[in-house]
C-alpha cells in the first residue's frame, strides 16, 4: 500500500493536543494505523506535548498525595505484563480503532441508502462532529456536496478520483468550506470510505437536500 495523501501538520498537532472531536480523532487514528509516516509524525507531536508538560509550570500537590496513591496502587494488581500484542485483524480493511465502532468487519455494516446509489452508515461518536462510512458504487459520483466546515475522508476499500487526483486505500482527503468537490468511485469496484464532518454537508442537488433531514447528513 502506497499512501500519497497524509494528515496535515495542523491536524496532527490538534490530535496530539486532544483538540479534535471524536469523529475526526477516529479518522486520524485509523489513518495512523495504516500509515507509518503519520505514525512517526504523530509521535513527534506527542513529544512536543511532553516538552510543553515539562515547561507548564508546577502546582503544589498535598504532602500526603504520594502515600495516598501508593496505598491505592499497591492494593490493585498491576496490569498484565504480557506484551500488548495487537489482536489479529478480522477484516484487513478495518484497523483496530474503527473496529471498535463497527464490530469487526465491513461485511456486517448496516447500510442505509442515500437514494443515489450511494449508501452510508453513521457511527456512534460524540455529536459535535459526525463520522460515517460511505459506500459509493463503482464509477458513480458521491452525492454533490460542499461543506460548512472541515471534512476528512479516508479510503478503506477501492479508490476515488477527485478531479485528476486519485485517492486509494489509506489516503485521506482533507476539505474545508472552500472546496466544492465531486469524488467519483473508480470503475473497478465499490469504494468504501470513512468520513468525518464537523457540520452538516450542503448537498447541491434538490433531492439529496430534501433527503438530508432523514439521513442525518
Amino acid at each position: 500500500m502506497t499512501i500519497r495523501h497524509h494528515i496535515s501538520d495542523q491536524i496532527l498537532l490538534a490530535y496530539a493536543g486532544g483538540q479534535l472531536s471524536e469523529a475526526f480523532s477516529l479518522v486520524v487514528a485509523t489513518h495512523i494505523s495504516l500509515c507509518d509516516e503519520c505514525r512517526a509524525r504523530a509521535g513527534a507531536f506527542d513529544a512536543l506535548g511532553g516538552a510543553m508538560l515539562d515547561s507548564a509550570g508546577t502546582e503544589p500537590m498535598p504532602d500526603d498525595a504520594v502515600e495516598d496513591v501508593l496505598a491505592r496502587i499497591t492494593s490493585l494488581p498491576q496490569a498484565p505484563r504480557a506484551p500488548s500484542r495487537a489482536p489479529m485483524r478480522t477484516d484487513p480493511r478495518v484497523p483496530a480503532p474503527l473496529r471498535d465502532y463497527i464490530g469487526g468487519s465491513l461485511d456486517g455494516v448496516r447500510w442505509r441508502s442515500l437514494g443515489t446509489g450511494a449508501r452510508q452508515a453513521i457511527l456512534p461518536t460524540g455529536r459535535d462532529a459526525t463520522a460515517r462510512l460511505l459506500c459509493i458504487p463503482a464509477g458513480q459520483q458521491m452525492p454533490d456536496h460542499g461543506h460548512n466546515g472541515l471534512e476528512m475522508t479516508l479510503v478503506l476499500q477501492g479508490a476515488f478520483l477527485d478531479g485528476a487526483v486519485r485517492f486509494g486505500v489509506g489516503d485521506v482527503e482533507i476539505a474545508d468550506q472552500s472546496t466544492e468537490h465531486r469524488p467519483v468511485a473508480e470503475a473497478w469496484g465499490d469504494c468504501i470510505c470513512l468520513a468525518a464532518t464537523d457540520s452538516k454537508l450542503r448537498f447541491s442537488g434538490l433531492i439529496p437536500r430534501l433527503a438530508q433531514p432523514f439521513f442525518r447528513i
Binding site: 496535515s8 501538520d9 495542523q10 491536524i11 498537532l13 490538534a14 496530539a16 493536543g17 486532544g18 483538540q19 479534535l20 472531536s21 471524536e22 487514528a29 485509523t30 494505523s33 507509518d36 505514525r39 512517526a40 509524525r41 504523530a42 509521535g43 513527534a44 507531536f45 513529544a47 512536543l48 506535548g49 511532553g50 516538552a51 510543553m52 508538560l53 515539562d54 515547561s55 507548564a56 509550570g57 508546577t58 502546582e59 503544589p60 500537590m61 498535598p62 498525595a65 504520594v66 495516598d68 496513591v69 501508593l70 491505592r72 499497591t74 490493585l76 498491576q78 496490569a79 506484551p83 500488548s84 500484542r85 495487537a86 484497523p95 483496530a96 480503532p97 471498535d100 460524540g126 472541515l150
Partner: protein, 222 residues
C-alpha cells in the same frame, strides 16, 4: 546495558533508593554508565520509570510522583480544570503510570512525553467527557534490550524540544500553546501551514527509521 546497571544498584537496593528520594528535587545523577540520560535537573527519569516497570520500585515511583504530579496538575489547570479536579486527575495519571509501566518503551518516548499522553487522555475524559480513538498498537511491545543510542535520543528529546519551542517565533509558539492547553480555532485546524521545526523533522526521521527496522525484524521472525 541499562539493565545491567540497574541490576547492580538493585543489589544494595534500598539504601541507594533512599538516597534519591532525599534528592528527588533532582540535583544528582544516579548510575553513570553509558547511555545514561539526565534532564536539566540531573535526574534520569527514564531509569526511574524502568525501576517501576521492572521491579515495582515504590521509592522510584515516589520520586517520579514528586516531579511529575505537580506538572500534570499545572498542565490540567492551564487547560481549565479546577485545582481540585486537577489534583484528583494528577493522582489518577500517576496511578496509571504505575499500572501501565510495562508499556513504557524508553527507546520510543521520554518519560515526560509518556506522562503527557496519559494526562491528555485523562483530561479529554474528565473535562470533555469524550473519547479519543487511539491508533492500533504496533504488533511488538517494548524491546527487552533496546538500543542505547535510541534510548539516549528519546530520553533527551524533551529538553531539546523545549529549547526549540522557546526559540520559535511568537506566532508559532502561541499556536503550540493553544494546541496543548488552550483551544485551536477551526480555521487553525483546517489550515495547511506546516510547522517548520527542525528538531521535529529529525525526530520524525529517527522514528521512521526505527519503524522500518522493526518491520524488517518482524518479517525475519515470521
Amino acid at each position: 546495558m541499562l539493565r545491567d546497571a540497574d541490576a547492580g544498584t538493585n543489589v544494595d537496593g534500598n539504601s541507594g533508593a533512599a538516597a534519591y528520594v532525599a534528592g528527588c528535587d533532582g540535583e544528582f545523577v544516579f548510575g553513570k554508565g553509558q547511555g545514561r540520560v539526565a534532564d536539566g535537573n540531573g535526574t534520569d527519569w527514564g531509569a526511574l520509570l524502568l525501576r517501576v516497570r521492572d521491579g515495582q520500585d515504590k521509592v522510584a515511583f515516589a520520586a517520579l510522583f514528586r516531579h511529575f504530579a505537580p506538572r500534570v496538575k499545572g498542565f490540567l489547570m492551564k487547560s481549565g480544570a479546577s485545582a481540585q479536579l486537577a489534583e484528583e486527575c494528577a493522582q489518577d495519571v500517576m496511578a496509571t503510570l504505575w499500572q501501565k509501566a510495562h508499556l513504557f518503551d524508553p527507546a520510543r518516548a521520554s518519560v515526560a512525553t509518556w506522562v503527557f499522553t496519559i494526562a491528555r487522555n485523562r483530561r479529554i475524559d474528565a473535562l470533555r467527557k469524550a473519547r479519543r480513538p487511539e491508533p492500533e498498537d504496533l504488533p511488538w511491545g517494548p524491546e527487552p534490550e533496546p538500543d542505547q543510542a535510541e534510548v539516549y535520543e528519546a530520553q533527551q528529546e524533551t529538553t531539546r524540544l523545549g529549547d526549540a519551542i522557546a526559540r520559535l517565533p511568537e506566532k508559532q509558539r502561541v499556536l503550540i500553546e493553544r494546541a496543548f492547553w488552550g483551544e485551536m480555532s477551526h480555521s487553525e485546524i483546517a489550515s495547511e501551514t506546516g510547522l517548520p521545526l527542525g528538531t521535529i523533522k529529525s525526530r520524525i526521521r529517527l522514528a521512521m527509521e526505527r519503524l522500518r527496522q522493526q518491520m524488517d525484524e518482524g518479517e525475519d521472525r515470521t
